[in-house]
Symmetry: C2
Subunit: 463 residues, 2 copies
């Protein structure tokens, strides 16, 4: 898989100087990114494109080629694949559309491509895809990308990797992460996934430093392989799947030729292997931060911390509806918390009122996190003074120290949340619903991974 | 009620020059707003406060007083009410806390206050509340407001009115509307609502140009009065209610002394009188725009319009899950839409692909909205070129012309949505889930109001 994300030499087949040429946008973008590799443009005239040396055929290139990116019209793809084989290229990305998603003729073309790939031992991504991106080494072969467009992604490489069956969703995610505190490691759009599929991606992202996998899927190529890979995975996998309804499945099918999968079966299978299903498309970019910035939630008992009485009630409802408990703190713990400052409520929710002392924040958090009465915190403090931000920063440290998480929401307008979040690296969610959902997901993953390791250790014991 | 929102003379009782005095913040804020009225400060020394003439007692004021705002400690409130009565003041806002929400002593104080009010025919808001705000005439008696803080609210007065049982939620709403295209008419925080309650508010907001009412409630004072007022209402009422779970109810009770109400009964009652229950606190500020910018949705058949195949599938799932139909368009209509331009999909979802002609947008929308095959549009266009924005602006005009709504979502990061939304006054929601929910709410309100007018006409026929 490394050739798809870290190629030392690249051929873009179909890159020319014609107006609106998509191959040329890849040459231009890689040059703009200063990606450190040899880049060749293959076109009929053999002309250079955007500073990349031009050839009429792959076979004319006097050096080895690690990765071929194909953007020629679909009918030309089998011949190009044949050339790739002859040139000894083992990694190909077919970005061209017009295969199985467009009927019988496309299906036959696809069969030819698959046979040639088998014959030459070529692994390929696509067809009908956007390509791959590696934020760490500034590699991106998304067609149509305009210089400057995704600068943020490369300026702040991170540790979430995405598999997305849609360019539109990929762009939405990259655009949204601009104002969040976790960032992209790798991203790949696998299109019709005739060869490389979701299962390959899960296995690979378990080896490259990825901490959370996000997947937008319109279909599952091979259910069994997918679930087995998910079972092997030692990092969380978040999946948003389209086609939960037959109407959605129909719309997805016309998009990337996916077969409708029965959603109830898929859901049960996900539960079994610990895959987390996203309830909203935004969860793909909003939820990873509960894993990358906080310890896992290892129990159901939550303490609510707020400085706005209303949000104590709002989050109480949401937590209980999500299956959590909000235990009334013991008399002893309540008394210790009362001594932290002049508070409105100490039984749970803890309502701080207009308290302004940083030490009060620290003392409350320490008392809560060190007690064996609660497993995590839902923190909903209105940020109207710097001291509240300082308090949240202390909370983050204490969460690590006591190995318990906090789901944080700042009840201000969303543009202010984004500003505070990025300026102070505070993992604030954008609604109380999201903060509660993050705790739910964290606990769900904890339970699934315990079950997994239990099953594994049992198996090895038997062996 | 007019005295609470448009007083010609105001007395702030408890406003002094002591540090952190909350009454003084009201004097300061009203002066900052240039609110056109006489404002008096009542304190022990009779000193002027922030430019407002000071007196030792209400009875010393040589003019009539329309509205008294009380911020003295709770034990002093009965005496102040007595003075209000003697001065002939008929509208009082008691912002002071420390009554029924704080136990037996507070309950007794409250009884005294209620008796005095009855005796002198005083109507009052509170206690334990933030006060009232009128964006149109620049009146606001929220304690603690800092000059400049809510400038946006007064710069762009609008037609949504809010009843909020929490300052924190009120601030969140005002802060969020800054980046939205509908704005506040009036806002009131009614606290423990010992006199003026939700029902009074609904009746009043039906007379003052309000187009949508938003309510954040922790309890219902008098269920029967509330439901009757809602039944009378000829404008939509959105309600977010805390206390759906017993934990939430407990938290709310410690906040504003509300009694837990059985949520299942409340829910059924809301359905019966056409109240729309918000599923998330953000719906209080996000949903009104479907009513203020779009015609009501009068049927279940939705056409999806997108330029990103993925969002065709995503919204298909969401619409079907919300109870809508996505009819396959008739052959004839599909053919007419095909003639609008080079499109990816014309059966529904309509997938525009990368089309860039404004006329194509206009032709598709006209064909869809003028047909009797669909009742509304779910429009999810990625805004990557100015022409897409121009297309949405045309859609808005055509929706009015054909009396059918569009639920709009722009699949870009939320900060970009806010920018496009305010710059072009496009009613874009912040997620596909929200856009679909808005259509659901619009249809729900349409059905409820049809039922209402049917019941009413039936009743009058019998009479």
């Amino acid at each position: 898989m490394d050739a798809f994300f870290n190629p030392r030499s690249i051929a873009v087949i179909g890159a020319s100087n014609k107006p609106f040429n998509l191959g040329a946008t890849i040459c231009e973008y890689l040059t703009f990114l200063n990606y450190d590799a040899k880049i060749y443009a293959i076109n009929r005239k053999g002309e250079d494109v955007k500073g990349c040396k031009g050839y009429r055929s792959l076979l004319e290139i006097p050096h080895d080629v690690d990765l071929a990116i194909i953007l020629t019209p679909a009918p030309a793809v089998p011949d190009v694949m044949e050339e790739c084989g002859k040139k000894g290229i083992q990694a190909v990305i077919i970005e061209t559309a017009g295969f199985t998603e467009e009927g019988e003729y496309g299906r036959k073309l696809q069969q030819q491509v698959n046979e040639i790939a088998r014959q030459y031992n070529i692994r390929f991504i696509g067809p009908n895809c956007l390509g791959t991106l590696n934020a760490h080494n500034r590699f991106c072969c998304f067609f149509g990308a305009r210089p400057g467009e995704y600068d943020g992604v490369f300026e702040r490489p991170g540790d979430i990797s995405y598999v997305i069956q849609s360019g539109g969703v990929g762009v939405l995610i990259m655009d949204s992460l601009r104002s969040d505190i976790v960032n992209v490691n790798k991203m790949m759009s696998i299109g019709n996934k005739e060869d490389i599929d979701e299962a390959d991606c899960i296995d690979y992202f378990n080896t490259d430093g990825t901490k959370v996998i996000g997947m937008y899927l319109e279909s599952i190529k091979n259910g069994k392989r997918f679930l087995e890979a998910a079972k092997r995975s030692s990092i969380p996998i978040l999946v948003y799947k389209v086609g939960r309804t037959s109407e959605g499945a129909k719309a997805a099918m016309s998009h990337t030729a996916g077969m409708a999968n029965n959603d109830t079966i898929f859901d049960a299978a996900c539960r079994q292997v610990g895959i987390i299903r996203c309830k909203a498309i935004s969860e793909l970019h909003s939820m990873p931060k509960i894993f990358t910035t906080m310890p896992l939630l290892k129990g159901k008992r939550i303490a609510i911390f707020t400085n706005s009485g209303a949000f104590g009630g709002i989050t109480s409802d949401l937590l209980v509806e999500a299956g959590f408990e909000i235990p009334t703190l013991s008399g002893e713990l309540q008394q210790r918390i009362s001594q932290c400052g002049k508070l409105y409520n100490v039984s749970n929710p803890i309502d701080l009122g207009p308290t302004l002392s940083l030490q009060t924040f620290i003392d409350i958090f320490t008392n809560l996190l060190s007690s064996d009465e609660i497993d995590g915190i839902c923190a909903v403090p209105n940020v109207w003074q710097q001291v509240v931000i300082d308090g949240i920063l202390e909370l983050m440290k204490l969460c690590k120290e006591y190995d318990k998480p906090a789901g944080i929401y700042i009840p201000n307008a969303v543009d202010r949340i984004l500003k505070v979040r990025t300026a102070y690296s505070i993992p604030s969610f954008e609604s109380p619903e999201e903060a509660v959902r993050a705790l739910q997901i964290s606990y769900q993953y904890y339970c699934a991974s315990r079950k997994k390791s239990f099953t594994q250790s049992k198996t090895s014991a038997v062996i």
